[in-house]
């Protein structure tokens, strides 16, 4: 590995792959750093190694990533898998841990394509072993062909819930119930976005068809599907034994050893916040996202953001955003002319626009429900430190309205995950119990190292030594 590149891309999902391949094609020296052992990000996880059966079950939206991977593999990008970036700087310095040692590498430009994560929503019992995210189950299957053989309940709202249900049915997994927490009134506000969404009729139809097929299979296999479910609760002594919830006046209870939850997808902004990208609060999706222009620029001149990490639009959009970002950097580095830039970027922009037609409809349909963060006092919010909603709320009511301060007082967000799992909920508790408008509430800060690095590794870090490529 060299110590300096024209551009360093962090994250090998669709945005990072497309971006690094496009920059390399324009003559830039590019390094791509990624946590996983294989390229693909979460969506195309393990795609190059997946078996025909895995492809068959995951379907065409998964296999669609093959083309992206083959273009990437042909491109002269220096790819570093299993690399944990623990600090990035606005000047293009990146510190990372790999093979048990830490090193620094610098780029004229940084592209952060760190993707998205599931929105962490606390509920009673969510820390019990056996409770996992739908995306996590999907990852287990993509990675390792693991499939549940004991009763599993799916609960939440959004397309991922149905997609994972579809896969589990295909795997003949013993699904005990599907609990849809989408409020049944939510479909009406979504309808005003329908005309625009209909410009991608085929796409919408595919989603509707998938949900319908899951319902038919559920009916055939006598798997109950409940809509408008509330009060989800996981119970068990040391691990999950039972899932409980309510539907209207009806109390639901299912024996299960696995509960898969999904309450939507949010940008994974930990590295973006650490490096200092400015963020904006989105009041509909209720998440923070970096301020990014369509060509990937942030408030930091050398730092670009591409993909779902800027706003959650899905894999195809991420790929287009990655390419647009690449072309912008190639233009800034004078590897392409203004005319070439316009010629090359115009079709990508058109594809991106087209991809975004249905988003306002889907986003409104599955917008986080109002009571998503109406958390009971005893519910654990910070999983690492065991801090409950009641303790956080009490501080907010006393006038504390900054997660960073709250952390200093009750350790909420101070554990190994560094607030990745609790900061959404803490933010919502502050927004719901203070008079401060959400966009004025300070975001939780992450301090480097944002990934575990041992003291020994830090002491021996090769951060400024000679070229050792």
């Amino acid at each position: 590995m060299k110590t300096r590149y024209d551009a360093i891309v962090i994250g090998a999902g669709p945005a990072g792959l497309a971006c690094s391949a496009e920059m390399a094609a324009r003559g830039l020296e590019v390094a791509l750093l990624d946590e996983q052992a294989n390229p693909g990000g979460q969506i195309y996880r393990n795609i190059s190694k997946a078996s025909p059966k895995q492809h068959a079950i995951l379907g065409e939206d998964y296999s669609a990533g093959m083309e992206l991977i083959s273009v990437f593999k042909e491109a002269p990008v220096e790819y570093f898998p299993q690399t944990r970036v623990w600090q990035a700087e606005p000047n293009g310095d990146v510190f990372f841990s790999r093979n048990g040692g830490s090193t620094k590498v610098s780029g004229d430009y940084l592209v952060l394509s760190t993707g998205a994560m599931e929105r962490p929503v606390p509920f009673p019992g969510w820390t019990l072993p056996g409770v996992m995210t739908c995306g996590g189950m999907s990852n287990l299957f993509k990675d390792s062909s693991l499939s549940p053989i004991e009763p599993v309940v799916l609960a939440g709202s959004g397309p991922l819930l149905w997609l994972v249900a579809e896969h589990l049915f295909a795997l003949e997994a013993p699904v005990a119930a599907i609990l849809d927490t989408t409020p049944q009134t939510q479909i009406f506000p979504a309808f005003k976005h329908m005309p625009r969404a209909l410009r991608r009729f085929g796409f919408l139809l595919k989603g509707v068809k998938m949900i319908a097929e899951v319902q038919i299979t559920a009916l055939k296999r006598k798997v109950p599907i409940y809509r408008g479910v509330k009060d989800l609760c996981a119970e068990g002594r040391d691990r999950l034994e039972r899932v409980q919830a309510t539907r209207g006046k009806k109390e639901l209870s299912f024996e299960a050893t696995t509960l898969l939850v999904s309450e939507g997808i949010i940008p994974n902004t930990s590295l973006l916040r650490q490096v200092g990208c400015a963020h904006t609060w989105d009041p509909v999706q209720r998440f923070w996202h970096p301020d990014v222009t369509v060509d990937g620029r942030t408030n930091l001149p050398a730092v670009f953001v591409a993909g779902d990490g800027n706003f959650v639009h899905g894999a195809k959009a991420a790929e287009f955003k990655g390419r647009l970002t690449a072309l912008t950097i190639a233009l800034e580095m004078h590897r392409i002319s203004r005319t070439e830039y316009l010629e090359l970027s115009a079709p990508v922009r058109r594809q991106l626009d087209r991809e975004l037609f249905p988003r306002p409809f889907i986003d409104a349909m599955y917008a986080p429900r109002k009571d998503l963060y109406s958390l009971a006092d005893e519910t654990i919010v910070c999983r690492c430190e065991g801090v409950t909603a009641g303790r956080i709320r009490a501080l907010v009511e006393e006038g504390y309205a900054d997660h960073n301060e709250i952390k200093a007082m009750i350790r909420c967000g101070m554990g190994p995950c560094q607030g990745r799992m609790c900061s959404s909920a803490v933010f919502e508790l502050i927004a719901g119990h203070s008079n401060i408008p959400p966009r004025e509430i300070r975001q939780h800060r992450l301090r480097p190292p944002i990934k575990p690095v041992s003291l020994g590794e830090l002491a021996n870090a090769n951060i400024g030594g000679p070229d050792e490529s």
Partner: protein, 105 residues
Amino acid sequence: MSKENSRFSWENPLATLDTVTVTFEGEPFEVPAGISVAAALLGHTDEHFCHSAAEDDERAPYCLMGVCFECLVEIDGVQNRQACLEPVFDGMQVKRQRKVGDEEQ
């Protein structure tokens, strides 16, 4: 090489795959090559991976994508490894993390 009670099973019989041997808490077992440590343990046993930092609750993987840190284990003597991000290799010694967040010596 026993398989304890796990909530999961491999889609394909192990006999048809390339496998490696991983040891968890002193007990060796076979898993498909190339998978993550988290998948290897989940496919083998229902046991927890670690304890929460503050309350000492038993914990197991939640996100399987590197964000929750509920899968921390000790691999060949090195603590704080995220099992969902580490691939298995033959002869790997995995232990439950004694206390999450403990610094290595």
